[in-house]
Assembly symmetry: C2
Homo-oligomer: 333 residues x 2
């Protein structure tokens, strides 16, 4: 049963958002399944296409700003289906009265991030809304990529026995934003993990067909992403709490604010499902890249219980992982 | 000299927006020239890519709503570079508290408009912002299209002697929105001209290489579009007031509100620059389509005075046409 009005939880990436998508947006618009990117063919070429709007608050946060996030987020969505990102679009919705100096800073971040990822901004659009009808700046980036021949990353390729890998420590992005909103500061600083993943993915795909599927666990965190995949594949994903890399500072912020790092957003890590025999060599390949030095095996795929994510806790128990139920961290990206 | 803060005029499509683009957005992001769509090659295929955010107010207006506008606007931007639109993305930024019923109505409009244009929505994103940090609903649509071999529409192809054609009466979209904001009603109703132009463009391109360039004169209207093109090509565009099709109701709204229809936004017409000898046959082709029954020759391209748009008025005088200087109609699309 859907509510009569939109609530913040509909944007959380969790259960409410999935309900809105499944019951309304997908059937009404005819849009396809929930994926990082849509994949389609033109002539003999396989293309990927994705879009994301960014409404993060604050606009500037430890380790980045809305501009960097918007570039990396879309580069990463393309990368997750194995595409080499070709170009980005940039849609700005600016609130009247927004300081030109801040806009300039954010545009410069976009330029720098686009150069770093090696993906140009090719087209854009600028709209201005009256004071009080926006919140400084919202950004949409869409992107187009090309999927190299032979690359085939899909949930259907996941099989029982596959190994689950994360490329880095989890929760950095969400925790750094929540820390900054609450005025917590750390030494050394806790930064967002926003970064482009296209080069890491290119290296991963060079290992052949060992990688079956990838996702970047943004809104809703690793927990929500795994639950989505378990549901889609009708398989069980079992992960071990002790093997999941989490920074001490992230643990600290989460404890203070009553958050579970498994549900906290990431903007620079990938969860990969990998052929069992190849897992060690994939980890080695990942660790050679600076963005994945903490890469770790965190679990595996099992046949049953179907559609479940199980967490083996440090205490020796087993906990069922569900999607983020409502709203945890509004406007995290 | 740029102001210290964003003002509404920066989103008008006119002079201020061009200044912001030229002095800040293009140099800082590295984005290319201001065009309806970016064009790039993948393997042997020429693709077009475009983005637009829609912040129109009110969300529902005579003849359409924000959803229809968002689909048609992006379909049309792709069409203007001669591309056959392949797919769209849909980014929603929803304000907390927005009525589910309105959202459903708009999503249904999107579905209907996408079906009518024959262009599917392939991917999307949903964000929710707190009450008071948005204005009901903002939509971003981006789109990808493929440019058929041999199609080459560029300002550089415009030559002195080319004929300027509009595909229909001007100002309908802007005038209908302004009328609705001001509580004017007409019998028969004055509707927005929002419509997909991809089929009209396909027919136009079937006439061979007669069409040199096309633009859809949205924000800033026909005047701003022509001035942009005169500046880019360093040629003169001379148009005749008496030949420009304008509905009586549009004239009426503009007179009441002190607007010039030449600067009022359109969402379903095209301005085409056409080989002189082929102009009559192009007009005939256009008129065969229901969306261009009012197609008309409105002027021609001359060598000098360079970078000028001249309007020969009904009274026998000549007036210089400049870009929309500041803000005329905020949030018209």
């Amino acid at each position: 049963m859907m509510s009569e009005r939109i609530i913040l939880g509909h944007g959380s990436g969790g259960r409410l958002m999935h309900q809105l998508l499944r019951e309304m947006i997908l059937p009404l618009t005819g849009a396809r399944e929930i994926l990082d990117s849509a994949v389609f063919d033109v002539h003999e070429t396989r293309l990927a296409f994705t879009t994301d709007s960014y409404v993060v608050s604050p606009l500037f946060f430890p380790g980045g700003d809305i501009g960097v996030l918007a570039v990396n987020g879309t580069v990463n969505d393309l990368s997750m289906v194995g595409a080499e990102p070709l170009c980005l679009s940039l849609g700005l919705i600016i609130e009247e009265g927004f300081e030109m100096e801040k806009l300039e800073k954010i545009l410069l971040s976009i330029k720098t991030a686009a150069e770093e990822a090696g993906v140009p901004v090719l087209t854009g659009d600028t709209k201005v809304v009256e004071r009080g009808k926006g919140d400084g700046l919202f950004i949409n980036t869409s992107g187009v990529g090309v999927i190299p021949e032979g690359v085939d990353l899909r949930p259907e390729r996941i099989r029982p026995g596959d190994i689950v890998i994360v490329s880095g420590s989890i929760g950095d992005h969400g925790a750094s934003i929540m820390a900054s909103r609450n005025g917590f500061y750390f030494e050394p600083p806790l930064n967002s993990d926003t970064r482009p993943l296209n080069r890491l993915v290119r290296d991963l795909l060079s290992t052949g067909s060992a990688v079956h599927m990838m996702r970047d666990p943004t809104r809703g965190g690793v927990a929500t992403t795994l639950k989505e995949i378990a549901t889609q594949t009708r398989l069980c994903i079992e992960i071990e709490e002790d093997r999941i890399p989490i920074k001490e500072q992230v643990r600290g912020v989460c404890e203070l604010l009553g958050l579970d790092p498994l549900y906290v957003a990431n903007e620079g890590i990938v969860v990969a499902f990998v052929e069992r025999d190849m897992a060690e060599s994939v980890i080695e390949t990942m660790k050679r890249r600076p963005e994945a030095t903490e890469a770790a095996i965190i679990g595996e795929v099992k046949e049953t219980p179907a559609e479940m994510v199980l967490l083996k806790t440090s205490m020796g128990g087993t906990r069922m992982i569900e999607m983020l139920p409502g709203e945890q961290l509004p406007r995290i990206c």
